[in-house]
């Protein structure tokens, strides 16, 4: 394949070009309640080409490899058209030429197991959930994604590499009278099938939480101090700060570039944040990105001070900062964009009990329930929570959404726990100027943290 792709470049008049070709295999099995709604195992393929010419850039996705040559020519023409409309040429930072093959060796490889075996494991967990009388339905999904990618560029980089991630995840939906509540669960998050096995006890705990939620009161609207559990804190750092550490979001946004210069004090000295694709046990792990650059750990915040940023070759050149190896595409339909790998808040020194004891009137919020960010504004939900009154955990609360502004909220993080935990399921949606890319291979971790001020929405 490498030779086939390199042939495309023979008649190319470009400053730089690259092609990524993929063969992807997916297995998806899904129960909804007692019903098996989806079972599929299939293969897709396709390519993506990027061309830089005269300081302009054009990209193209295609499914017919035979057309790659003509697509390359059309892309170069488009890149030259762009160049005519630009005062400043786009440039790429120099990157080491990489050649070789980067293959995975999972402890228990899901690709070697039968569809029947995977279905039976999923059915087993689904049956456990359905045994609880308050459960009215479930979503129980097995998701396995394998990608074999070949990447070549005109600099001489030519690599083959693999991605593999397997998960079981879903929803437990319970009902009492007219009240319906749901709690999420997820196992897995890397290439090892054995992480999906023997998780009955974890599932039982989640079922119990869902049932407890039926007796919880809605959160009350207002501004409060909160303690976030590791899952919720990791969503906060991913959504609120992580996306602003992706340089493509700042590249053409002058006011944010100004606000996020290296050395800016963003938080208290207790706050340290890193991104690390080499943590291969977690969902965002990989060895090489989709721009042919090796991934590396980036210290984003050190003792409250901005010290690093996530880059493509293009943004690294523009910002004059080091490469980080964070350019990734979900599949061949998409161009690579800058994505967090495994972002996490480094552990601090506080205990959970100390954080709760420091709050007179607030909330303890548990379990991520999705989030959204726009620049420095963020909003995300919690699966459940507890009132904190006079330094003690109180009654359970439900229907919790919080929002805020990044810079003031980072400053409001005053305690960081000593109990770093990574979520087993990642996932992140980002458009990056193109269609939304939902990336399975995005990890996040955090210890418990205390935030002094958060706005909580509620119906009362």
């Amino acid at each position: 394949m490498r030779e086939t792709l390199l042939d495309v470049f023979t008649a190319v008049d470009a400053d730089y070009a690259d092609i990524r070709y993929e063969e992807n295999k997916k297995t998806v099995i899904s129960y909804e309640g007692r019903e098996l709604r989806k079972i599929a195992s299939y293969t897709t393929s396709g390519g993506h080409l990027r061309a830089y010419a005269d300081g302009g850039k054009a990209i193209s996705s295609f499914t017919d490899l035979k057309r790659a040559g003509s697509i390359a020519q059309a892309s170069i023409a488009s890149a030259k058209l762009i160049a005519k409309h630009r005062d400043k040429q786009l440039q790429l930072a120099d990157a080491p030429v990489v050649t070789g093959t980067f293959l995975l060796s999972p402890k228990k490889d899901p690709r070697t197991l039968s569809l029947k075996e995977k279905k039976e494991l999923l059915a087993h967990y689904n049956t456990i959930i359905l045994a609880e009388p308050k459960v009215i339905t479930t979503v129980c999904e097995y998701d396995e994604f394998y990608s074999h990618r070949t990447f070549v560029n005109t600099d001489g980089t030519a690599v083959e590499y693999e991605l593999l991630i397997v998960n079981i995840a879903g929803l437990i939906v319970v009902k009492e009278a007219d009240l319906v509540q749901q709690v999420r669960f997820a196992f897995g998050g890397n290439d090892d099938y054995s992480k999906l096995l023997n998780r009955e006890e974890d599932l039982e705990k989640r079922i119990a939480r869902a049932c407890e939620l039926l007796g919880a009161e809605p959160a009350k609207a207002g501004v409060y101090p909160v303690v976030l559990d590791p899952d919720e804190a990791s969503v906060f750092i991913h959504e609120a700060f992580g996306h602003l550490s992706e340089a493509d979001g700042l590249q053409n946004n002058p006011s944010f570039r100004e606000k996020l210069q290296m050395g800016t004090v963003l938080g208290n000295p207790v706050l340290n944040v890193s991104d690390d694709p080499h943590l291969l046990d977690y969902p965002g792990g990989y060895l090489i990105d989709d721009e042919g650059v090796r991934g590396c750990r980036t210290r984003l915040i050190k003792e409250g001070v901005l010290t690093g940023r996530l880059h493509s070759r293009e943004t690294a050149a523009e910002f004059g900062e080091p490469l980080s190896g964070n350019m990734r595409a979900v599949d061949a339909h998409f161009t690579p964009i800058i994505r967090m790998s495994n972002i996490f808040i480094d552990p601090g020194e506080s205990s959970f009990e100390e954080m709760v004891a420091s709050i007179d009137d607030g909330y303890y919020l548990v379990g991520a329930k999705g989030g959204q960010t726009s620049g420095d504004q963020f909003s995300f939900g919690a699966q459940w929570g507890y009132r904190i009154v006079n330094g003690r955990l109180g009654s359970m609360v439900r229907d919790i959404n919080m929002s805020g502004e990044l810079f003031s909220t980072l400053q409001a993080i005053t305690m960081v726990g000593n109990d770093l935990l990574f979520s087993e399921r990642g996932g992140c949606g980002k458009g990056g100027g193109g269609p939304m890319q939902l990336n399975r291979k995005s990890g996040k971790g955090a210890p418990h943290i205390k935030v002094d001020t958060v706005t909580i929405g509620g119906t009362e």
Binding site: T63, A74, G457
Partner: protein, 436 residues
């Protein structure tokens, strides 16, 4: 008949092929500068088979892939019980959604449209980081079954978006226009953008408490997302919907009539058939506040012993595309307009909110009609816009709070997934300035 369907006829009880082809050119400006041109030429296909009453799915890039049928058969071997049959229909409503001029658009022509928008806005606001995106696409969807259904639909779309982040804040003001045919710089939309952007110069936080809220068309998701989750035949089958057994009852204000109109001439969202080859229609979902019907695909219709409403689409809130199995989902939601000019709505408010968007729609208990979002929009005081909302959340339950609607605007604009007027809601719970 494609070779794949011919082959499937002799090997499985039923088969359904969905084949999507797309050619798209996309031009993007950032901070007034042409940043990127992309051109995609993609094909994808999905094959569902029912064999021995069990269903399986396979996907690929085109129907001619050798393993296609074998993979679907293997999946069906362990698959769930089908409970329904694939479509048999070959006759569909006539829908006009294709324009040769859009299909022939070049990247140069899209650049010219963007340049016209850029020059117009640059004259008024050279100080902002203007973003423009323009896409011209031609798509073709073919659905064919072993039971005789065959549908082939080609449509074009020209989509223009422009806007800018607010200086010093993460959010921005953005405007959108779509059509099946080429158009010039949309002057009215540019004017509205400039007015709204001007309103963002000041930040303002309303008091915590119940306040009247005007939902702009851009924020209609606050209503339509929970509503569609509740109207989904799947939620009715699972009994998780708060609208179960409520057809004929009042669920929203009597001022609201909501239609899923997939047959609007000249609309890129219009479709003669859904992704299961079932004819689409103009479907009244809510009429003067009364619930009229649910959204049904083949699966949920069979469970409820009804006919599909032609709403089996390969999309949902979190996913879309060929690999996604069809689910009940609206195609083009139209909220009927009222009589009130929207500026009169603003002028009538002592204190209130003009909500133009929200963050976190999906993180609340939206399937039950509950929302709690970070409010994007404007704070209104004494009938005038005081500034953009800052540190504000809006929360409620559509089946309670949207029973009381004061007025609908006479203006009807593009909204996420359809058309909507401005909707003046009597009051919603607002979390703003500290009140404790």
């Amino acid at each position: 008949m494609t070779d794949l369907i011919k082959l499937a006829t002799s090997q499985v009880d039923q088969a359904e092929l969905y084949w999507h082809r797309e050619h798209k050119i996309d031009v993007r400006y950032e901070n007034y500068t042409l940043q990127r041109i992309s051109e995609n030429d993609l094909s994808s296909a999905a094959l569902r088979v029912i064999d021995k009453r069990r269903i399986g799915l396979s996907c690929g890039i085109a129907p001619d892939r050798a393993e296609f049928l074998e993979e679907a058969k293997a999946a069906a071997q362990y698959g769930g019980k089908a409970g329904f049959s694939f479509s048999t229909t070959r006759k569909f409503p006539i829908v006009t959604a294709y324009d040769d001029n859009t299909a022939a658009q070049t990247s140069q022509e899209l650049v010219l449209l963007c340049e016209a928008v850029k020059e117009r806005i640059a004259r008024a606001r050279p100080d902002i980081a203007l973003l423009i995106q323009c896409q011209a696409s031609t798509e073709q969807i073919t659905v064919e079954t072993t039971d005789g259904a065959f549908g082939d639909h080609r449509f074009t779309k020209l989509a223009l978006s422009f806007g800018a982040p607010i200086k010093g804040a993460g959010i921005g003001v953005y405007k959108h226009k779509t059509s099946i045919s080429p158009f010039g710089a949309p002057e009215e939309l540019v004017e509205e953008f400039l007015e709204w952007y001007g309103w963002t110069e000041q930040a303002s936080t309303p008091r915590t408490g119940r306040l009247p809220v005007i939902l702009a068309p851009e924020a209609s998701l606050l209503l339509t997302l929970p509503l569609c989750a509740g109207l989904s035949g799947e939620a009715i089958v699972k009994k998780t919907s708060p609208l179960t057994k409520r057809v004929g009852e009042t669920i929203l204000s009597d001022k609201l009539t909501i239609i899923d109109d997939l047959l609007r001439p000249g609309d890129p969202q219009s479709r003669p058939f859904d992704d299961e080859g079932v004819p689409c229609q103009t479907l009244v979902l809510v009429e003067n506040g009364l619930l009229r019907t649910y959204l049904l695909d083949l699966h949920s219709a069979a469970k409820l012993k009804k006919a599909s409403t032609g709403n089996g689409f390969k999309r949902s809130l979190f996913a879309s595309g060929t690999e996604v199995p069809p689910r009940p989902w609206p195609g083009h939601l139209v909220i009927k307009p009222g009589q009130t000019p929207y500026r009169e709505m603003i002028a009538a408010l002592e204190e209130g909110i003009l909500l133009t968007g929200g963050m976190g729609f999906h993180s609340g208990n939206y399937t039950q009609g509950v929302f709690a979002v970070q409010a994007l929009g404007f704070h209104i005081v004494d009938g005038k816009v005081r500034g953009r909302l800052d540190r504000t959340m809006v929360a409620g339950t559509i089946y309670q709070d949207l029973l009381d609607i004061r007025a609908l605007s006479k203006e009807q604009r593009e909204s996420p997934g359809g058309l909507a007027p401005y909707i003046l809601v009597d009051s919603l719970q607002v979390a703003g300035a500290r009140k404790r």
